[in-house]
Symmetry: C2
Subunit: 382 residues, 2 copies
């Protein structure tokens, strides 16, 4: 049974092509003005309008379809005026595929030196020149409209972990009131605005937030405030509780998650989109993702190992180079080592989400990926 | 008139396809076991078996034909045993085109902490672990045979600048006696051994060195000991004096030179091959070579300039990206900025030597590149 929905804002369509009969997993097609995203799908992070160390051509070859960029970082440098003058972020960064920008909320609360936070918005210190910057729901949407990504995110308040229930509840309510203002401020019909569910590790707050955010009837909904320091068990619990509460016919996006086990748990519970800086950051630190493990290429065992990094992987690093060469590049702190491991790690992530998608279509997801659903299964360290 | 020569060592052939009627410039074809080098040609430097920041695929797209790697660096890391076990440097670094390795002589004398130097060879301190390393002509050739490049260089003593004549003369004589030992030690018929002319800024020594090195009847000869700190006028004088003294029917390689003006002076005096780290090093420092100038992409004038870096350049940086984007990447210290400027700068150098080659074939070299021959012409700052 294929379910279809047209988003209220025009050219967006999310179509579910197959359901797993035993889990909530679904394989879908998310159509955007810059092309199709086949879900479930991992989205590489291009913070400053570049996935660090690789060209758009290399990014495309990893299998990436939708790419995430950070509003907070792009606002600070080069500023949305310059990006807008370039014709928008797609043209500025040379990426013609689907793009998503976050709202800056997570970064403001996790990276910035906050000077003030109230119902109106947030004032923080510009780390570049010490000036005061005010970010409100309206401003976050304005910046994202200037950047011009296909999907834009609501401005939310992500409470720290741990935090007592009353603090998380306050952040939650503020997030809901900010969502209303984001919806009112957002005017571009060629962008889809996604809401964000908060609520920390409190099931009551998560449930309430899921219901309220879902009631906005937006073209997509995200789960925020996960992977902020909570134990894995709690994170899994949030995914299992919240995902089924979100509109079934809209893409569901689990923010900041990009480990294989957690993505499999997410997909089994109906999540469609993921993002995470970890695969690219690990690559830049000399670590490759192979066979569900993390391999530190500085390890002596790779020095004289002339096999491909991962013989099953079609990426440039695995098809043209050896473990010994990659180890040499990393030991020598050569830039090419970072580039090649980034290419490989992203390819690895994208192959994994593609494999889940295919197994849902083939009807074998619950069998192929079942071990991933169990918290007790420690087969994969990553 | 086409002159042909078969090198004594087998698969190497250098064929001159056209001469400039007014200068000593010639356009040639240098055949190696890993393919053709059309001369005059700039050779990118891949010190540690990688042109820093770019993949072999990107390197090929710059127009690179022959690539240089450094024996000194590769001996220290990963060591020639590992490279040899990989099947040689071509396979190790994933570059199937022509390769040249230097002998390590220049690096030992310019980078290393020397403990001993005599007629036998050089003892220096391993900068990685403090151990003593001895490099002799025989050892330098052994390492290069293990690395397996198409062209290998004789082990020479490059005296510092300035140095008095007796010091330079001693280094010169030692270089000649080392050359004899290199020739005796070199056994691979699939490698061409080039000799190196020394002699500093002393015309008498340069002349003597050119004659002696030429007398070895090697498949190619290089001019060493230039660009070591001497004034430009002296460097130009060395090029003009020495190049015509070298065998006319063998490739002539001007070591360490890669500025447009000096390459044009070199070509006008019969040089065929060049190498230099500057274009790649400048790229990694945010500087682009455009219109014979150096542009610092950090400059404020590029922040909001949405034109291509160089509209005439076919490289990935110029065809897919804008000055504003490149400026943003460099300001943000993004790795992609270094990659793209490296790609551009190499493409710029290779287009320049290709243009010289074509103009020699077309009979317009002395007209098109004449300004470059005059030391007084300051049209190009680079």
């Amino acid at each position: 049974m294929a379910l279809e929905v047209e988003s209220k804002s025009g050219p967006f369509r999310f179509q579910i092509n197959a359901h797993c009969p035993n889990t909530l997993a679904r394989a879908g097609s998310f159509y955007t003005p810059h092309g199709l995203v086949q879900t479930p799908r991992f989205m590489p992070v291009g913070t400053l309008g570049t996935v660090k160390g690789i060209t758009p051509k290399q990014l495309l070859a990893t299998g990436a379809e939708m790419v995430l960029a950070n509003t907070y970082h792009l606002h600070l440098q080069p500023g949305e005026e310059i990006v807008s003058k370039a014709g928008g972020l797609h043209k500025f960064m040379g990426w013609d595929g689907p793009l998503l920008t976050d709202s800056g909320g997570f970064q403001v609360f996790s990276l910035a030196e906050l000077n003030q936070i109230d119902d109106e918005g947030v004032v923080f210190k510009n780390p570049r020149d010490g000036s005061q910057i005010k970010l409100t729901p309206e401003k976050a949407i304005d910046i994202q409209m200037a950047l011009g990504a296909d999907v834009v995110m609501a401005f939310d308040q992500c409470p720290p972990y741990p935090a007592i229930e009353s603090i998380v509840q306050k952040a939650c309510y503020r997030t809901h009131s900010w969502l209303e203002r984001c919806v009112a401020a957002h005017k571009r019909s060629d962008q889809a605005l996604f809401g964000i569910v908060q609520g920390g590790c409190f099931p009551r707050l998560r449930e309430e937030s899921a219901k309220i955010v879902s009631s906005f009837n937006l073209p997509g909904v995200a789960i925020g405030g996960v992977s902020v320091g909570e134990p894995l068990q709690e994170m899994h619990q949030i995914i299992r509780q919240v995902s089924p509460l979100l509109p079934e016919d809209r893409p569901r996006y689990l923010m900041g998650i990009g480990t294989l086990r957690e993505m499999a748990i997410g997909v089994a519970n109906g999540i469609d989109l993921f993002d995470c800086v970890l695969p690219t950051r690990l690559g830049r630190h000399g670590t490759a993702l192979v066979d569900g493990e993390r391999w530190n290429l500085r390890n002596a065992r790779f020095r004289n190992d002339h096999k491909p990094l991962d013989a099953s992987c079609p990426c440039e690093a695995c098809s043209n180079h050896s473990r010994a060469y990659l180890s040499h590049l990393i030991r020598s702190e050569e830039l090419l080592g970072l580039t090649l491991l980034t290419v490989h790690n992203l390819t690895h992530m994208l192959r994994f989400t593609s494999a889940m998608s295919q197994s849902i279509i083939d009807g074998s997801f619950s069998e192929d990926f079942a071990p991933w659903r169990s918290d007790s299964d420690a087969h994969y360290t990553w």
